[in-house]
């Protein structure tokens, strides 16, 4: 809706794909966390920690990179995509891991 309100350029299919980025990433993250990290709700052992990092951070971040590569200002520059992926990884990792431990759900 916001993209329409802001008169984003391109056909509605493109706007739909652009708008689907956040829901898709959130859905992927929730899906992987429910299917991979079922046995524990904190990072209490190495197996859960690894599943959490790859399933809940790395894979959704890779999906995000697909959107970044095709639909953002980077314009297909793989080096910038990698840089954004790494930045996102550091940020998500550094926020999610302490929160999951110190403010255990």
């Amino acid at each position: 809706m916001l993209l329409f309100l802001w008169s984003a350029p391109g056909p509605w299919e493109r706007i739909f794909i652009l708008a689907s980025r956040d829901p898709v990433i959130v859905f992927a993250s929730v899906f992987f966390s429910r299917n991979l990290v079922r046995e524990s709700n904190d990072l209490s052992n190495t197996q859960v920690f690894m599943k959490f990092v790859f399933g809940v951070i790395v894979l959704p971040d890779l999906i995000n990179s697909l959107y970044t590569y095709h639909n953002t200002f980077v314009g297909g520059d793989l080096e910038k995509v990698a840089l954004l992926w790494l930045s996102d990884f550091i940020t998500i990792f550094s926020i999610a891991v302490p929160i999951l431990h110190y403010f255990k759900p």
């Binding site: 990072l43 910038k80 790494l86 550094s94 302490p98 110190y102």
Partner: protein, 201 residues
């Protein structure tokens, strides 16, 4: 008897031990001081070394404290200027980001493995203590049973011997008598009982 395993991993900031906090403080200073003299991209790996050191020494939870909170939020704020000035071009920035990602993940993994090993060690120690307690109880029970068996053996064998003595006298007195046959039967039964008690005790 039941026992529960209580992991000694800290679950809140208050539970971080003083020694660990002191080492975190020193690592922070060690990371902070070079920032006044050299650019960030030339010494960022020092925080990786510090993080690995903290991970090996204190495990996962001290590690995520220093990694997630100090190295990722507090120090970059202080070193932001040097980060911007020290990185010339995206390739260098990419290498710094790649190194930091590897450092964050690698040190966290080291910390997690160390904490797991400590938990396993604590679990094994608890099991060992439990087994030792059980063994002590078993030894006590065994000793008590030996005493009981000895006592029972003595209490039964003495009357049996007395009975056998009286039977022998009765047999002498009843020779040629009709009772002799019955007394012999009683003697056989008593002998069987005596054999049985000897076998058991």
């Amino acid at each position: 008897m039941s026992f529960t395993l209580v992991p000694n991993e800290p679950r809140s900031f208050r539970q971080l031990n003083h020694k660990g906090l002191l080492e975190i403080f020193l690592s922070t200073i060690l990371f902070l001081v070079p920032g006044f003299f050299i650019s960030f991209d030339k010494y960022w790996f020092i925080c990786g070394v510090c993080a690995a050191f903290i991970a090996v020494r204190h495990g996962f939870y001290h590690l995520i404290f220093i990694n997630g909170i100090i190295f990722n939020y507090i120090l970059p704020l202080i070193n932001f200027g040097s980060l911007e000035n020290g990185t010339h071009g995206s390739t260098q920035l990419l290498s710094v980001h790649l190194g930091m990602s590897t450092m964050f993940f690698g040190s966290a993994l080291i910390g997690r493995v160390i904490s797991d090993l400590r938990n396993s060690e604590q679990e094994l120690t608890s099991h060992k203590k439990h087994i030792e307690e059980m063994n002590t109880q078993l030894s006590k029970a065994n000793h008590e049973m030996d005493r009981f068996v000895y006592s029972v053996s003595h209490e039964i064998s003495a009357p049996l011997k007395s009975i056998k003595g009286r039977i022998a006298i009765s047999k002498l007195e009843s020779k040629g008598n009709a009772d002799f046959h019955y007394i012999s039967k009683i003697e056989q039964s008593v002998s069987k009982l005596e054999d049985f008690t000897e076998e058991i005790f």
